[in-house]
Amino acid sequence: MSPYVVLRVVSKLLIPLIFLYGFYVHFHGEYSPGGGFAAGVVVGVGVILYALIFGLQAARKAVPPYWARIGMALGALIFAGVGFISLFMGGNYLDYTVLDPNRTYLGQHIGIVAVEFGVLVSVTAVIIAIFYAFAGRERPAGEAED
């Protein structure tokens, strides 16, 4: 845990706001700049900041590494799964219009938010997984400088 009380207090205030902003970037992506990729990165940064301030062990407890491993595949599966759902509902692969029985814009909106959610899950999980992989490594013995 960081010995600096200012860092701890400020990051405790900031981390929920970072997550909120990430989800805003995702769910507001139809109306303002943003989308799954940017949102996933922002959410991942929130977890990394938590790990930097409160330690890797605390972060591993909050977001276990197997979540990251499952999330990587789950996000890609959500994206591909939306495509298969639209296929089975009578449209082309990734044709979201058929997701709404009345064939209005609603189908497109559902499809876009759903596939972007897949992007969000995958990107967040990959970023957290890469961070855990790097941060979990220790210096080889006998090379410690400081």
Binding site: E30, I48, P65, A76, E116, S122, A129, F131, A133
Partner: protein, 188 residues
């Protein structure tokens, strides 16, 4: 871009700042300072993208370039040395030759590029214009970028997600995802 547009002076300012940061990074030997300056470089690049009107790219650049890659480079630096080894003069000259050749090629290609902000470029007249015209009637969302990315070009984006997934799997295979914990269990 018209001559009276004030944002172009921001663009020049940002480009000059990026150039100086790049030159400073080349001269530095202290890796900690280099990592920090690459973060600053990304942050200024993100500000430049906002000035160019690419807010989507700016959000990602600020989070990835200034946030995640700085943290990852710091973590990688902690595993190696803190100072770069001095580069030999031969390498400097070799790099200079490559840079000069690449620079000449870029300036040679410059003549074929459209004027910055021109409305009659192939990108702005062909499919790009069609997406802008068709999005309100077909998808009915204000952000055309999202419509193109998720709906019209859904296959591309799915490919990108699988690339991200493949990158994550690759790092996990190379660096042992559970980190140091498993090595202790092995009784090493």
């Amino acid at each position: 871009m018209t001559g009276g547009d004030i944002t172009q002076y921001f663009d020049y300012l940002f480009m000059i700042m990026l150039l100086f940061i790049g030159l400073t990074i080349i001269r530095l030997q202290n890796l900690f300072a280099v990592v920090m300056l690459t973060g600053v470089y990304s942050l200024i690049a993100a500000a430049w993208f906002v000035s160019l009107g690419a807010a989507d790219v700016a959000i990602t650049e600020a989070a990835v370039g200034a946030g995640i890659s700085t943290v990852l480079l710091l973590a990688a630096m902690l595993l190696t040395a803190r100072e770069a080894k001095p580069t030999t003069a031969f390498r400097h000259w070799a790099a200079l030759v490559v840079m000069a050749a690449a620079g000449v090629a870029v300036f040679y290609a410059l003549g074929d590029l459209p004027v910055y902000g021109a409305a009659d470029t192939p990108a702005n007249t062909g499919p790009g214009m069609a997406y802008i015209e068709r999005t309100p009637s077909e998808i009915n969302i204000p952000n055309v970028v999202t419509a193109v990315l998720a709906s019209y070009r859904g296959f591309d984006t799915m490919g990108e997600v699988f690339v991200v997934f493949a990158a994550g799997v690759g790092v996990a295979l190379l660096l042992n995802l559970s980190g140091a914990g498993r090595r202790e269990e092995d009784g090493e």
